[in-house]
């Protein structure tokens, strides 16, 4: 494995004779050699790329298409007798399903609370990193701690931190004099984080922010470092402090990257699953709280398909979500093209 490239070339040069059309023609099997040569040129390239296309076809493309079929069928994990075509029934049901709209609202709410601060903070941190720094690697690697932490593990920590009775967050809030009254006159320090939409959204958004700020900061940093220095030299701003410089010069210069991260955050944020799933008091219930106050569409799909066993309906939901993502992502892509000045 330690072969240097130059050395490798000589290795190749001493490859077994007989395979090369240029070497003295081997008398025994000339046609074999020729056939091999042709095979090597015409067919082998396809062999090399085939694993990707086969796996993608079987596990990527086909499921997407097949998902469309399933959405029009009854497909129950609980009741095998429920079978056959459903036509548009499941889509009709979806339109009238409070839970779906509730989950969609939660998804957008959490998405908003997590994306905006996330990208903003990432910009700030990137600009802090975009300086002559001592211990540069330490800072860059350090902000990646959340990125390498399994989402399951970090969500469980936050779950403990946002615990109602013994959580760190409520202890701090209690210290500040915040209390909440529950049913039956029970008074607790802080708030019952999981109990209401806003508080649970904030908690979940915090987890998402924590996870991705550092990562996005590095993306922005990469973009910032590719800004030619003369741009700064040319832009003479009166009394420009670091803050003005960031917003007037740096951010416009990395706008394509900002919009790219917005698109990616849209795609990922709308599929949010692990955090809302595991934040529940009983994570396996996939109910997103006692009345779905923090159930996202991703969790609802899981609950519908695998908890309630209604795969057909879950497939219909997936398609609805897919459409929403496509619409939103293309809207963002459109924005990217417009605002980015058509730069691709």
């Amino acid at each position: 494995m330690s072969t240097a490239s130059g050395r490798a070339a000589t290795d190749v040069a001493t490859a077994p004779p007989g395979e090369s059309p240029g070497s003295p023609a081997p008398r025994k099997t000339p046609t074999w050699s020729e056939r091999w040569g042709r095979f090597d040129h015409k067919v082998v390239p396809y062999l090399l790329i085939s694993p990707f296309f086969i796996l993608f076809a079987v596990f990527g493309l086909f499921p997407l298409a097949f998902n469309g079929v399933v959405a029009f069928r009854r497909w129950s994990l609980r009741n095998p007798a429920a079978d056959g075509w459903a036509g548009f029934d499941q889509f009709t049901r979806l339109i009238g399903d409070d839970r779906f709209w509730n989950a969609l609202g939660n998804t957008f709410g959490i998405f908003f609370l997590s994306t905006v601060p996330q990208l903003f903070m990432a910009l700030i941190i990137a600009s802090l990193l975009n300086r002559r720094l001592r211990a540069q690697s330490f800072f860059r690697v350090g902000i990646l701690l959340p990125y390498v932490t399994p989402i399951v593990a970090s969500t469980l920590v936050f779950s403990q931190v946002f615990g109602r009775d013994y959580g760190l967050a409520n202890w701090v809030l209690g210290f500040l004099g915040v209390t909440t009254e529950l049913g039956g006159g029970i008074i607790i320090d802080g708030v019952d984080w999981r109990a209401t939409k806003l508080t649970s959204w904030i908690a979940i958004a915090l987890m998402v922010n924590w996870k991705w700020i550092g990562y996005n900061a590095l993306l922005y940093l990469a973009a910032m470092q590719s800004i030619p220095k003369d741009v700064y030299e040319a832009a003479a701003l009166d009394g420009a402090g670091a803050w003005t410089q960031l917003w007037k010069i740096t951010v416009p210069m990395i706008r394509p990257m900002v919009l790219f991260t917005v698109v990616i955050s849209t795609i990922n944020g709308l599929q949010l699953f692990t955090e809302p799933m595991l934040f529940d008091t009983n994570p396996q219930s996939a109910s997103g709280g006692t009345r779905g106050q923090f159930q996202t569409v991703g969790v609802l799909i899981y609950q519908t398909g695998w908890k309630n066993g209604n795969l057909g309906y879950a497939a219909a939901m997936s398609w609805a979500l897919f459409l929403i993502i496509v619409v939103l992502a293309s809207f963002n892509a459109f924005l990217a093209n417009k605002l980015g000045g058509g730069k691709r």
């Binding site: 009775d165 013994y166 396996q284 006692t290």
Partner: protein, 434 residues
Amino acid sequence: MKWTRSRPASLLAVGAASALLLTACGGDGDPEPGANGGGGNDNGGDGEVTLSIAFWGDFGLGPLVEQYEAENEGVTIRLNEGEFNAQHESLQQNLIAGSGAPDIAAIDGDYIVQFREQGDQFVNLLDMGAGDYEGEYLEWKWQQSMTGDGAQIGLGTDVGGLAMCYRHDLFEEAGLPSDRDEVSALWPTWEDFIEVGQEYVEATGDRFIDNATNVFNPIMGQQPVGYFTENEELAMDGGPRVAFDLTTQMIDAGISAGIPAWSDEWNAGFANGDFAVLACPAWMTGHIRNMAPDTAGQWDIADIPGGGGNWGGSWLTIPAQGDNTQAAYDFVEWLIQPEQQIAIFNNVGNLPSQPALYEDPAIQEHTDEFFNNAPTGQIFSATALGLEPQYIGRNAGPVRVEVENVLNDIQGGNVSAEEGWERAVSDAERAAMD
């Protein structure tokens, strides 16, 4: 490019180190998963059999499995413990998928109808000779796991006859009677129970019961008709309404500590004395013991208000898709023998569903130090014998989950009792539909 040779080497070192850490600490985690050895179906020839058994909570299987493995060479048993509802859901999926089910699956009363309706997915235990044990079981327990066409899909483990666990020390501090007979006399009905609770709260400033769902479920168990009629019609206005109203009365009376069941805080609440009573079927006693070992001797057991009823209790079934159904049956048959059933009772408190065992001195004369030397054997035997079982609907499990959610919400002060009931009904209807 600073990717020098040392980098992959150090990466390898990290990988190796974590692998070492794992194997060193692996213990009885049985680290031989293998990419293909799923579902415990790996029949290694040579009479080597691995049986997987899926359950939840405390079945008291640990020591028994060790014993069985020692006595039966070549048999390895893998315990797959999971969350209560999730275990049933994944069993259902595996049955439909036709693969992935454990060799032995525990099924709770809430789900038994759902599964017995798919009787052909399970080994008919009568074909394995289980008919010999029919006379040993409580009749209803035997019947509940029978399919419509007379196949038997499961052998009963425990029953959940109801009693009330209480902290006699806390009762004493509150100026309440603490002797178990006197305590039983305090609350013939649930209304009396609420009054006692209010007295307790007034005297101590602490809460009386742990949460809403843990009184709702036992009250449900006492109703003549549960969520469903025998025609599988959802009957929310019958038993569920009664239990729901009593429960919300308790919340309004301020006697509930409002700590959601099975949560981390609930488990901590046992040790902290956050509540003084808890409806306990036999299987709950093991949980209390595990969660609050330091409160040994401070608990006692009295009658539950409102008469007899059942909450929980399970069967062991053998999905037909398994490769080792005979070996699985051998183990199940061994588990339901009197010695093992009594061992489980001693170990975790689960009361067998075989009434003959209730006469056995090991149960009849059993007293429990943790519960202030209460004669738990007698108490729980009596509750089990006095039971009139209700019909459990096919979708009782999912419906219960919905109602529990609503109750937790009322408890949290997020919805009024009236609105809550409306939601409970509509959510239950939806859950019954799926």
